[in-house]
């Protein structure tokens, strides 16, 4: 995948997004002395830059991992070789993880470089603090994107129609964003079947989108040690890992039991 020329397109679009974001921050907070607003703006924008577009890229990469092999019948050849099926999944996971890691790493470097270019010395003085926040956010974004990577991979294993597998991946993303469950909670509370606050609290604590959002907020607001950032009181990171593990297990089961033809 790294040899594919489309990585340049992805990086070019990320470059556009990073440049626009940094310019936007600079046009609002252009002071030469660093302040709290600048710090918050830099950290909060970082997560949204990486995760939203990254999630779509994750879906595409997850889909391609199985679908492209199935289309050119390479999967058939691969499973008659003396390798276990779980090895195939492991290999695809490690390869795709490397791809996503590289993209996110380059984007992070790009973001920091542009901030350095715009703010110069005032950015250097807050850089250690920002760096300490960027690491957990980088991990959280990667986990968040990997959930959708495995979701898309799972659907492309189960569903034979390529376009329908993709459509359902995006729709499930909408579900995970909470719009649909939020809608259901509104309806339930409107007809008196549930308390709106209870249901919405439950949903916000259970959906990857809100979990990652809450983690982002926590990291922004708390300047404590790396350990406390990685294990916040509501265990957001643990929840994301749990989602990922569930997706991985489902992928394994589906792939081991699927009929490759």
């Amino acid at each position: 995948m790294m040899n594919n020329r489309y990585i340049f397109l992805v990086l070019a679009l990320y470059f556009f997004m990073v440049s626009y974001t940094v310019y936007d921050i600079y046009s609002k907070i252009s002071g030469s002395t660093p302040d709290v607003n600048l710090f918050e703006a830099i950290v909060s924008h970082y997560f949204s830059i990486i995760s939203v577009y990254g999630m779509l890229i994750g879906i595409v990469v997850g889909f391609m991992a199985v679908s492209s092999e199935r289309r050119n019948h390479a999967l058939n050849t691969l499973i008659v070789k003396p390798v276990y099926r779980d090895m195939i999944i492991n290999g695809k996971f490690i390869g795709s993880l490397g791809y996503l890691f590289c993209i996110f790493f380059i984007v992070t470097i790009l973001y920091i470089s542009e901030l350095l270019l715009f703010y110069g010395n005032s950015f250097i003085s807050i850089f250690p603090e920002i760096f300490a926040k960027i690491i957990p956010l980088f991990v959280a974004s990667l986990l968040y994107v990997l959930i959708f990577f495995f979701l898309s991979m799972l659907l492309s294993i189960i569903i034979k129609g390529q376009s329908y597998a993709l459509i359902l991946s995006i729709f499930l993303w909408e579900v995970f964003k909470g719009n649909i469950l939020g809608g259901i909670s509104t309806i339930l509370s409107s007809i008196g079947m549930a308390d709106y606050r209870d249901v919405s609290n439950f949903i916000s604590g259970a959906i990857p989108f809100t979990i990652s959002d809450e983690f982002n907020m926590y990291v922004q607001e708390h300047s404590t040690s790396i350990i406390s950032i990685f294990f916040p009181p509501n265990f957001e990171l643990v929840k994301l890992i749990l989602y990922l593990v569930i997706m991985v297990v489902l992928c394994y089961i589906a792939f081991l039991r699927s009929d490759i033809s």
Binding site: Y20, R71, I167, L168, I170, F171, E174, I187
Partner: protein
């Protein structure tokens, strides 16, 4: 067999290929459920409608228009995604199973293949849009037992144009993804280009950030749907007032669809060979 017959045959085949897939009904049902849930919840207008109508002094006409207007964004976004992925898989799937090679050995123009596929998929999309809007409208009409509406034909006229606007936007997306497919000739490339376009146009809404991008599909759709206060689903303005102000945008959307289909045919002609 005339050229029109050939196009029609390919379109019919494409339609039955999509519609006959076991997943098609599941996707359609998911789409309808999602739209209904977000629609009902966003306005809470289908729940205890008479209570709300009484509290806010809304007429049945206002209820139906504000209810359907509330789901406009979701409907068009979901259908844009649907069109995108139908367009993405259209050519690579045929390329991989070899049916495109067979098709190209037939006495057909290359443009007939593209036109037929485009028409077949567009018909499927039109059917889904009509179904979704019709279900929502019917729920409202049944809830009020058809009573109290100022003019049922006007409701159909306005909703018909709503379907038409969403259809134009969806076909534009379909044409664009087919263009990416003929340009890159690889599924990965088409997917990356299409998904990036979807993100920048509809999620990040770059055209609204850059004021020069007046002709972007999403901007044209929103401009045609509502010009200042004159909204397609606002019955305080006569339908003709909306129609005359939206007409330039509708013409531009139709032109964009025609241009993109011509580009698809041209690119397929140039790029695709045995």
């Amino acid at each position: 067999m005339s050229e029109a017959d050939a196009v029609f045959l390919i379109a019919r085949n494409e339609f039955s290929r999509i519609f006959g897939h076991p997943m098609a009904m599941i996707v359609v049902c998911v789409l309808i459920v999602m739209m209904l849930v977000t629609g009902i919840a966003s306005g809470s207008l289908l729940i205890k409608p008479l209570k709300y109508a009484f509290e806010y002094r809304l007429s049945p006409d206002e209820m139906i228009y504000s209810g359907i207007g509330g789901v406009f964004y979701n409907v068009f976004l979901f259908l844009t995604i649907l069109s995108l992925f139908l367009g993405v898989a259209a050519l690579p799937e045929e390329r991989s199973n070899g049916s495109l090679r067979v098709l190209m050995t037939k006495p057909l123009y290359k443009r007939d293949i593209i036109l037929g596929k485009f028409m077949g998929m567009s018909t499927f999309i039109l059917m889904i849009i009509t179904l979704e809007i019709a279900i929502l409208a019917l729920i409202y009409i049944l809830m009020f037992q058809g009573q109290g509406f100022r003019s049922i034909p006007e409701i159909f006229l306005r909703l018909g144009f709503l379907v038409f606007l969403i259809f134009l936007n969806s076909t534009l997306m379909l044409g664009l993804t087919m263009f990416f497919g003929t340009l890159t000739k690889s599924l990965f490339g088409t997917l990356i280009l299409s998904v990036s376009y979807l993100y920048f146009e509809y999620y990040l809404q770059v055209p609204s950030l850059i004021s020069q991008l007046q002709f972007s599909p999403s901007r044209l759709l929103f401009s045609a749907y509502a010009i200042s206060d004159i909204n397609l689903l606002n019955n305080t303005f006569p339908f003709s007032a909306w129609f005359y102000s939206a007409l330039p945008f509708i013409i531009l959307m139709v032109l964009e669809v025609i241009i993109i289909v011509i580009l698809d045919c041209f690119m397929f002609n140039v790029n695709e060979d045995l």
